[in-house]
Amino acid sequence: MLKSMLKPVLLSAALISGSAMAANYDIDGAHTTILFKINHMGFSETVGRFNSFSGNYQYDANKPQSAQVAITIDADSLDTNHEARDKHVKSPDFLDTKQYPEISFKSTAFNGNADKGVLTGDLTMHGVTKQVDLNVVKIGEGKDPWGGYRSGFNGTITLKRADFGIDQMLGGIGNDVKIELFIEGIRK
């Protein structure tokens, strides 16, 4: 009798604790990197990153399909370790950061399991919004030494910059932009 009464109570408690795990995470800028690589004249790949961004995500290991991600990148924080090139990439020739100061991504769906999958969402860059698919792999999650709770993911995607109206110098600079995200979030 007692056992039969306890069962739904325990199940409810487990569900509540499960939904509590489907918490919101703030992206930890200190442990998150947004990199991009682009071909240079067929000789090499030039690597750059964005130094300023913010965002959050919702993640539940039991219900990965409900995952949601929103990231906003300060386009002017682009850094390719070469000041003159950075100024050029930020100019109207490429990202036009004075006119389009933000790059944003908002997820719309997730297909996969708790460890990896494809996150679909709307990427807005250079004033153009396109649906993109981001390949995501979970790295880990758990309590940190300071009493907080963290989770981390890596993501990769290859975009065609011309699709976003960034079509200058396609002869010398590749059209494919490989983006790699290394994200760590702290549960709120």
Binding site: A84, P92, D93, D96, G165, Q168, L170, G171, G172, G174
Partner: protein, 277 residues
């Protein structure tokens, strides 16, 4: 992934060939109007010529130009006609009219930035804009030499294209450079078919108006140093006159040397510490 290389001809077409051909055709039309004493069409074509010839270059450089305008660069191509036409205002209103017309038309180009500016910032920009335009138009109204004023203007435009290219945007530099091609062609054409001095001065003044508009775009959107741009515009304050005893090459040499000096200083100002690429 790695695209086909762009041929130099494809790059030269919009910057040199299109504006060159357009300027030759429009310059000859202007000559015909003058020849047939069609004063009014010649009066307007003298200024419109610069914009029309430049737009053939600009649309080849800004290949995603769309109407109605959506980007700042779309607006730049359209709105730049306003200050060009404002140079034809009657002299008694020209200084204030040109300043206000240029400012309001550039406000269309600067729409994305205006929302991020404080009231104080907008106020200081407006005051600066009116002062700068007023000085430029009144200085260009004083010009007397239809030979030296365009040469000085061409030198300023070419050096500004170099400054803008080094600073950040090659596209904006190309658009600036194409303006020098247009004025250069008209200046050369004048050596062959002899347009009136009045038309040449009007064409050069209109070029100045368009050039200032592009410089403003370079400052606001391509982050080109305002100090370098001010240096580049300094020769506008010089009143060019023709001394009867001067040979043509002496006039060219002195005009180029005087106009080039601030440009060289501006190039030095923006020269990057690192190698470019």
């Amino acid at each position: 992934m790695y695209g086909e290389s762009v041929s130099p001809l494809a790059m030269l077409l919009p910057v040199v060939v299109y504006p060159l051909l357009a300027a030759v055709v429009l310059g000859l039309v202007l000559f015909q109007f003058e020849h047939k004493q069609l004063q009014k069409p010649a009066f307007w074509l003298a200024t419109g010529l610069i914009w029309l010839a430049w737009i053939t270059a600009a649309q080849g450089i800004h290949t995603r130009w769309q109407l109605p305008p959506r980007q700042a660069l779309d607006w730049l191509l359209i709105a730049s006609l306003v200050p060009v036409l404002a140079t034809r205002l009657p002299k008694e209103y020209r200084m204030s009219g040109f300043g206000v017309a240029s400012m309001l038309s550039f406000a269309l180009v600067a729409q994305p930035l205006l929302g991020r500016m404080s009231t104080i910032e907008i106020f200081t920009q407006v005051v600066g804009w009116l002062l700068f335009c007023g000085m430029a138009i009144s200085a260009s109204d004083r010009q007397q030499s239809a030979f030296r004023f365009p040469v000085s203007q061409i030198v300023m435009i070419v050096t500004s294209a170099v400054v803008i290219g080094i600073s950040s945007s090659l596209n904006t530099a190309q658009m600036t450079g194409s303006l020098a091609v247009v004025l250069g062609v008209i200046w050369l054409l004048n050596r062959i078919v002899a347009l009136s001095a009045q038309s040449i001065l009007a064409v050069t003044q209109a070029t100045m108006a368009l050039w200032l508009f592009i410089l403003a775009y370079a400052f606001y959107y391509a982050d080109v140093s305002i100090y370098a741009l001010m240096l580049l515009a300094l020769p506008l304050l010089i009143k060019w006159t023709d001394n009867p005893g001067d040979t043509w090459w002496k006039k060219i040499a002195t005009t180029v040397a005087i106009s080039l000096l601030p440009g060289v200083l501006a190039i030095w100002w923006v020269w990057p510490e690192q190698s470019l690429y």
